[in-house]
């Protein structure tokens, strides 16, 4: 008699957790191509984040503010430490650095218009400053990156703030990346590259390494701008406590911390998902560093990386940030991952273009291809018409308005006349990890894991 192997029917379709279909597919692809995957956006994996925090609204011991008559101030001043002309914003939500090259000129203009309308700032990226953006954005932060593409003293003097970028949350330790299909003649000219080549990245600045030299570089920029202009220092979140202290020692007016959820237009997936720490963990460290040096209030903190909603903004402020910067959210406001785009007065379906990329709305991360179905992260002359500055700026303005309204709603509910009065004690955590990272108690208890009473 044949011995038949025993088979447990229900387990025939049990997926391995470690070697799931996604992982098997990854290994198959690697074996086929000998290439890592490159994609856009930020970390997709689940990490402890602001979702795990809740506010303690007004009750018997705390009194709320009324909606309209009782003011809740959102004015935000950045760069008070040394600059003659600090940046004054109407709201604490800014638009993060994203390059012309990664994004189209229309998008840069739309972002500029929206920011101006809402009284906030935009930031240039790894491609330099475009005319469109300087013209349309009332308050423009000019990035100084390791590549120095397009960096020049005239734009330095035209800027309202300068942001020295040491790294970004998506890839701390890595430099910019733009594949040849997005290096069109205009982008190429701005970056001093041959058109159509894959841009290679410099991960270190060419003329300084380390905080002792950064101090001299910051002074150089101050001298060039006659001490008018605030200097921000942006770091991807890794050893945040040390980095913030060093940035302060080096003379930064503002420190910008970008958590691992922060987006990019193109980077190796393994880099995005495995290097850097969550924004939640970084905010706490950054604030601790400032308080340790007694610089809270003198050096301002901007937090970015996965800020999506007004509640996120409120939580970032409560943890000690002075402002937030949003990148991916702004692109989504413009239509990223939308199933349609608005052109010539009507909505059109983008389904076919998503399908051509092998993806669909809600799953797309193909910024690196330059074939953005909704015309946001593209240099293609036809595709970029799918975002028009007027409609684009309307959408971004609305998003910023919504964020601000949500922020003030929460602040008022916590009894604050000024959103900057939100504090860590207004928060509790839902999970042990979030409680430990943010250093707030687990809801319903007085327990902060890892912190002795």
């Amino acid at each position: 008699m044949d011995a038949k192997p025993v088979q447990f029917v229900r387990m025939q379709h049990e997926e391995s957790h470690g070697y799931d279909r996604k992982t098997i597919d990854y290994i198959h692809s690697a074996a086929q191509r000998g290439l890592y995957e490159i994609r856009g956006l930020g970390a997709k994996r689940h990490v402890p984040h602001f979702d795990d925090l809740l506010f303690l609204g007004a009750s018997l011991s705390r009194y709320p503010l009324e909606g309209y008559r009782e003011k809740c101030s959102t004015q935000t001043v950045l760069g008070t430490r040394f600059a003659k002309k600090p940046v004054v914003l109407d709201i604490p939500v800014t638009i993060a650095g994203m390059s012309f090259g990664a994004l189209s000129a229309n998008v840069k203009e739309a972002l500029g218009q929206a920011a101006t309308a809402m009284g906030t700032s935009t930031t240039t990226g790894d491609g330099g400053m475009t005319q469109e953006e300087r013209r349309s954005s009332k308050t423009l932060v000019y990035q100084c990156l390791p590549s120095r593409y397009g960096f020049n003293p005239d734009d330095v003097r035209r800027a309202d703030a300068i942001e020295i970028v040491i790294g970004q949350g998506a890839k701390p330790g890595g430099g910019g990346m733009l594949l040849g299909q997005k290096v069109n003649p205009r982008v190429a000219a701005m970056r001093t590259l041959p058109a159509g080549v894959d841009q290679r990245s410099a991960s270190r600045h060419p003329d300084w390494t380390g905080p002792d030299d950064l101090a001299i570089k910051i002074q150089e920029l101050r001298e060039i701008t006659d001490w008018n202009t605030p200097v921000y220092v942006k770091v991807g979140a890794t050893r945040t406590f040390n980095d913030v202290k060093l940035a302060v020692h080096a003379g930064a007016d503002v420190v910008v911390i970008d958590g691992m959820q922060g987006g990019t237009a193109a980077t190796q997936t393994c880099f995005i998902e495995n290097v850097g720490i969550p924004t939640l963990a970084a905010v706490r460290q950054a604030v601790d560093a400032l308080e340790d040096l007694n610089m809270k209030g003198q050096v301002q903190l901007i937090v970015s990386g996965g800020i999506r909603t007004g509640a996120d903004v409120a939580k970032a402020l409560a943890l000690g940030a002075d402002a937030v910067a949003i990148g991916q959210g702004m692109l989504m406001a413009l239509g990223c991952n939308s199933d349609s785009y608005f052109q010539n007065g009507a909505l059109h379906s983008a389904a076919a273009d998503y399908a051509a990329l092998g993806t669909s709305p809600g799953f797309c991360h193909h910024c690196h291809t330059g074939k953005c179905p909704v015309g946001v992260t593209t240099q293609d002359a036809a595709l970029e018409q799918r975002v028009q500055p007027d409609e684009g700026s309307r959408r971004v303005r609305n998003y910023l308005k919504t964020l601000n309204m949500e922020l003030t709603t929460i602040a008022r509910a916590c009894g604050k006349q000024n959103v900057h009065h939100l504090e860590p004690e207004d928060l509790v955590a839902l999970t042990v990890e979030a409680a430990a990272m943010a250093r707030v108690p687990l809801a319903g208890t007085s327990w902060i894991p890892g912190w002795s009473n």
């Binding site: 390494t209 380390g210 905080p211 030299d213 040390n242 060093l246 020692h249």
Partner: protein, 302 residues
């Protein structure tokens, strides 16, 4: 992250002015290193049967009011070492006749919070938190005399700002090291050395480099060989300046991102992270000024 200074004088007359010439050099490096400062000075060697221990009382409760006289009495009572203390507030140089290791054991037992900075026949070492100007004033650096010294100003990168994490670090006798830069594998180096019986005081990356060289010297390498092995095993960016009884030695890693400049004439050799610190040395205009090449060892004999 840091500033380095080194000075070696070539004429006996200048030995009297060693400290006076060095203080402006050290203060010139304040922006590079505002947190803490320190230096090791190599002066007249005591006899073969004697040793000098530099001791720091900043961790004790009494601090700058530490009862050094009482300690001297207790020590001389406990063993016959004719201990003599030269005191400057929370610091003292203990000169003894006899077995230094026995004295160190006794000190660890009876005064555990007293911190040993250096051991040797020619080296004296000072380091503390505070700005370089404050530390220089605290220990009267301007009046130091000797043939050569190694100094440092610190901007802490990863470990905390505490006196023991300031530089220079010492190993064995009459050897010290200061560092500008950041090592990327200090914990791996530490884990390799601790099982070999090398003791670490701090988690500072510079100490890892110093202990590595201590280990190689202990194993019989001459300094150049030890440093050659260092190129292979120590990872990161560094300019190292080292002092022994008879030499100053300088090396830079292959990337040479951390700055260093040397000025030399018939009277002195001066080293600093930036020319600013050398600008006021006597007759600097006619000195030979150059940048040391990466991966090369420069040695000057005192």
């Amino acid at each position: 992250m840091c500033g380095i200074v080194g000075l070696l004088v070539k004429t006996p007359a200048l030995r009297e002015r060693l400290g006076e010439l060095m203080v402006p050099m050290l203060i010139g490096m304040t922006e590079r290193g505002p947190d803490s400062a320190g230096l090791a000075v190599f002066g007249k060697e005591v006899d073969a049967g004697q040793r000098k221990l530099s001791l720091y009382a900043g961790f004790t409760d009494e601090g700058a009011q530490f009862p050094w006289a009482a300690l001297a009495d207790a020590l001389n009572h406990a063993m016959d070492v004719t201990a003599r203390f030269d005191v400057k507030g929370n610091h003292a140089v203990l000169t003894l006749q006899g077995d230094a290791e026995r004295v160190k054991l006794w000190l660890r037992e009876h005064y555990p919070k007293l911190y040993l900075l250096s051991t040797g026949r020619s080296i004296d070492l000072y380091k503390d938190i505070g700005s370089p100007a404050e530390v220089a004033a605290r220990y009267d650096f301007a009046n130091l005399k000797g043939s050569h010294l190694v100094g440092h100003t610190r901007m802490a990168t990863e470990s905390a700002v505490t006196p023991d994490r300031a530089h220079p670090f010492t190993a064995g006798e009459d050897f010290c090291l200061v560092h500008n830069g950041s090592l990327s594998n200090p914990y791996g180096v530490r884990r390799k050395l601790e099982p070999l019986g090398i003791h670490f005081d701090t988690d500072n990356d510079t100490e890892a480099a110093c202990r590595f060289i201590e280990w190689r010297l202990r194993e019989g390498d001459a300094l150049p060989e030890a440093l050659q092995k260092g190129f292979e095993e120590l990872d990161g960016f560094y300019t190292f300046l080292m002092g022994t009884t008879t030499e100053l030695a300088l090396i830079r890693d292959p990337f040479a991102c951390k700055p260093a400049v040397v000025a030399e004439n018939d009277d002195y050799v001066a080293i600093a992270s930036e020319f600013r610190s050398l600008a006021h040395l006597p007759d600097i205009r006619n000195a030979k000024v150059f940048e040391p090449a990466p991966e090369e060892m420069y040695v000057w004999k005192a």
